[in-house]
């Protein structure tokens, strides 16, 4: 089934290409593919909860190194989130792309579907090599999406995007992977890790550093610049890929490496671990501070994402049960919250043609649903009830306590406070301030197209629902730490 | 006696080679290089390599000289004074030559019958070719039979040279006007010659 999950979006992509001349058919193809993908991934939930890990070896690339897939709880969690949000995003994208009269829509939907295939591959990768292959594929397939507008600005951003993601992955991550192979003689993901006892603590620490910084998609500073740059892309791209699939592929990789390559025990014993945890903590705070200074809504959200990603990295590096659970759950919780925010940002752009926060004053009165959803999404990011984000932050907090790192707990608190301010400012201003004098918010502005609006409502509702029913994700993460 | 001839010929060769290097009139240089070949043919004879001497005389003093002269008739025979200081080439040459001289220090003595070359592989040719091949000229035996495959390769090299020369010089001259467009450059140099070729 894991193979199907990867193949399906690819088939869908070529269907999109073939149906390019008939937009309605093309969009139907996207939606049908997305729905069936989710169905496929969902069908895996039962077996995995029952403790099975279906696996599939596609081909042995070089002796001992295979291209292989394995469905395990952590990967399934990521796949569930990504595939579900693809449905919603497709819906949203249809409204957005048409409402915005974008060009090259076929190419857009094609690469979008291929990117999802890449994300599925990352999620279900059975070993480091496979993970790396799909990780790189994801980078390359999203490049045309980032540069979609083909302007000079887009091309420049594309270069930054590709440059950072490829350099980190090729120079650090690949080196780390080959090094792992050289030390352990395998690159498979094994519960409890494969590296214990293969080399001195110093070498393994170096390896850990290579992994954490080599996963550029996790956007740990100083390798975060690509994420704001990628915001030149159309909003659905920012939403799904840069709030969900691409960045989550990054932090997912960090989690996966921590659990299945190093193993929690080994990780906890390395000298580099607390240092890297503090690097993540620094990223959390600095990115939040930068987010403050951004008036462009998407840029602010981008920095918020950078900050939140480091929560997950931090969770992995706490090297204990609660940290891993919290980190894994934050993948899901942050995804739902952040995608809501991006959808809202896109809706504002399509409907009111506004990008800057300072010009959104009073807009809440004409677009109440959008800003209402924005409010809910913000709650989840901040981590307060009744939104799903409160759970993951709670577990992360527990993790810091168990690790005895009160300083890190303080970092989490401060950062939540910061996000409270920079996120809530937006809906508050939209609802309670008067519109600026030169704007024409009154005339002709209404909510975004219905497809987009529906998507926003769905994700916002889901964010709330996850507060009440977080069990699925919690159970999966429990399985991860107990395997 | 051998030694005297040897020394004398080698000295003459050295003088000729240096003269070629210094000579700016290329006609003279080519003639001297023909003489160089003849002198080396003399050396080859003195060293018992009569077949080689014959060939060197035919090729070096014959064909090469004719071809060079033919070329000079077309391209002119004045060499410009070298513009740059030849320090780097001089350095390269000194290093290369130095390495070779160093290498000769342990080489088996010149002409010593106990040298390894005379005791491995070659003795079979000398001793057995008489009844294995049945012709007196051992060089021919080795050339055409023992190492006949090399000679086939040699024939192919000659053929390849003919192919190359015809590709370059045979038939009509290639239209180089198109080349200007391709490279984005102009082709002033070839214009007048283009006319000549039709004249």
């Amino acid at each position: 089934m894991a193979g199907v999950a990867i193949l399906l979006p690819v088939v869908g992509a070529f269907l999109v290409l073939a149906l390019g001349k008939w937009p309605n058919l093309r969009e139907t193809a996207t939606l049908v593919t997305a729905t069936s993908l989710f169905a496929v991934v969902y069908s895996l939930l039962g077996p995995v909860r029952a403790g099975e890990t279906p696996s599939l070896t596609l081909v042995e690339v070089v002796p001992g190194v295979t291209l292989g897939l394995e469905v395990e709880p952590l990967g399934l969690l990521f796949a569930l989130v990504a595939s579900f949000l693809w449905i919603v995003t497709s819906l949203y994208a249809i409204g957005y792309m048409r409402g915005h009269h974008e060009e090259n829509q076929t190419r857009f939907f094609f690469f979008f579907a291929v990117s999802i295939a890449g994300a599925m591959g990352v999620a279900f990768a059975g070993n480091l090599f496979t993970l790396f292959a799909f990780y790189e594929a994801l980078t390359l397939c999203t490049f045309p999406l980032v540069t979609h507008h083909q302007t000079d600005e887009a091309r420049k951003a594309g270069r930054v995007y590709l440059g950072i993601l490829l350099s980190t992955s090729v120079v650090f991550q690949l080196l780390a992977i080959i090094w792992t192979w050289q030390l352990a003689g395998t690159v498979d993901f094994v519960p409890g890790g494969i590296l214990a006892g293969t080399a001195s603590a110093g070498v393994l620490s170096a390896l850990l550093v290579l992994y954490v910084f080599g996963v550029g998609k996790a956007a740990v500073m100083p390798f975060h610049r690509w994420l704001p740059a990628a915001m030149v892309a159309p909003t659905p791209v920012s939403a799904l890929l840069h709030a969900v699939a691409v960045v989550k592929a990054g932090v997912f990789t960090v989690l996966k490496v921590s659990v299945y390559v190093f193993g929690v025990d080994l990780l906890g014993s390395l000298a580099a671990t607390p240092w890297l945890a503090w690097a993540a903590a620094t990223t959390i705070i600095l990115a939040s501070l930068v987010a403050f200074t951004k008036d462009n809504l998407k840029a602010r959200l981008a920095y918020s994402t950078i900050s939140q990603l480091s929560y997950i990295v931090l969770g992995a590096l706490l090297a204990n049960r609660w940290g891993i659970i919290g980190g894994g759950m934050h993948i899901a919780m942050h995804a739902f919250g952040k995608i809501t925010l991006f959808f809202a940002a896109g809706a504002i752009l399509v409907a009111a043609h506004e990008k800057d926060i300072s010009r959104m004053r009073g807009l809440g009165r004409t677009m109440p649903i959008t800003f209402g959803a924005f409010f809910i999404g913000s709650l989840s990011i901040i981590g307060v009830p009744p939104a799903g984000g409160s759970w993951s932050k709670w577990f992360l907090g527990l993790g810091t306590l168990e690790a005895g790192q009160l300083g890190l707990l303080a970092v989490l608190m401060v950062s939540s406070l910061l996000s409270l301010v920079y996120l809530l400012e937006i809906p508050v201003r939209a609802f309670f301030s008067a519109p600026p004098a030169d704007s024409h918010h009154g005339e002709g502005i209404h909510e975004a197209p219905w497809q987009s609006l529906a998507a926003i409502v769905i994700t916002a509702t889901a964010t709330l629902a996850l507060f009440v029913w977080p069990d699925a994700f919690y159970d999966l993460m429990t399985l991860v730490v107990e395997r | 006696m051998d030694a005297v001839i040897d020394i004398a010929l080698l000295a003459l060769l050295a003088v000729t080679a240096l003269a070629i290097l210094r000579m700016r009139n290329l006609f003279a240089a080519v003639m001297l290089s023909g003489i160089y070949s003849l002198l080396s043919a003399g050396i080859f004879t003195a060293l018992d390599a009569v077949d080689v001497a014959f060939t060197e005389a035919a090729v070096g003093a014959g064909i090469s000289t004719v071809l060079m002269l033919g070329t000079l008739a077309i391209v002119g025979h004045k060499e410009k004074k070298p513009a740059h200081t030849p320090l780097l080439p001089l350095f390269v040459v000194l290093v290369t030559g130095g390495a070779l001289v160093y290498g000769t220090l342990d080489m088996p003595p010149f002409g010593d019958p106990t040298n390894p070359v005379h005791h491995h592989v070659a003795p079979r040719y000398v001793e057995e070719s008489g009844h294995e091949i049945g012709i007196p000229n051992i060089v021919t035996s080795v050339l055409a039979s023992y190492r006949g495959y090399d000679t086939m390769g040699e024939t192919t090299v000659i053929f390849a040279a003919a192919v190359g020369v015809i590709l370059l010089l045979g038939g009509a001259r290639p239209a180089r006007v198109a080349a200007g467009e391709v490279s984005g450059g102009s082709e002033e140099g070839s214009e007048p010659l283009e006319e000549q070729s039709h004249g």
Binding site: - | A3, D6, A17, S33, V93, G111, I158, A161
Partner: protein, 118 residues
């Protein structure tokens, strides 16, 4: 005899180097090819010197049992090499003729300056 042997080799090396120097230090394309042929001819002498035996004769079988023949193998190799050399010279000279037609000169620096201006 030892000294004579070295003398033989060393002069041959000097000749080789004169040829080599002509190749790399001269700008005239024809002169380079002349240098190449001197270089190669001198290498041939090195080979033939190796095959020499004092008191030997040319390797053509004669009556009698106590005749010493010089080593025929280097001769064979050099016959091949001479032919290869002239083949190279022929192709090189045809290139020179074509270069002269295209550039109007066979001096390397003038060719370079023409192409730089393109």
């Amino acid at each position: 005899m030892r000294l004579l042997g070295l003398y033989n080799y060393w002069v041959v090396i000097v000749l080789m180097m004169v040829g080599f120097y002509t190749i790399i230090a001269r700008d005239n394309l024809v002169k380079k090819l002349i240098g190449l042929s001197i270089f190669q001819t001198s290498v041939f002498m090195l080979y033939i010197s190796m095959g020499r035996i004092h008191g030997g004769t040319a390797p053509i079988l004669m009556e009698g049992t106590d005749v010493v023949y010089s080593n025929p193998l280097p001769h064979v190799l050099i016959l091949t090499a001479i032919v290869v050399g002239v083949a190279t010279t022929a192709v090189g000279l045809s290139l020179v003729i074509r270069i002269n037609e295209a550039y109007g000169t066979v001096e390397e620096d003038e060719i370079h300056s023409q192409d730089e201006s393109l």
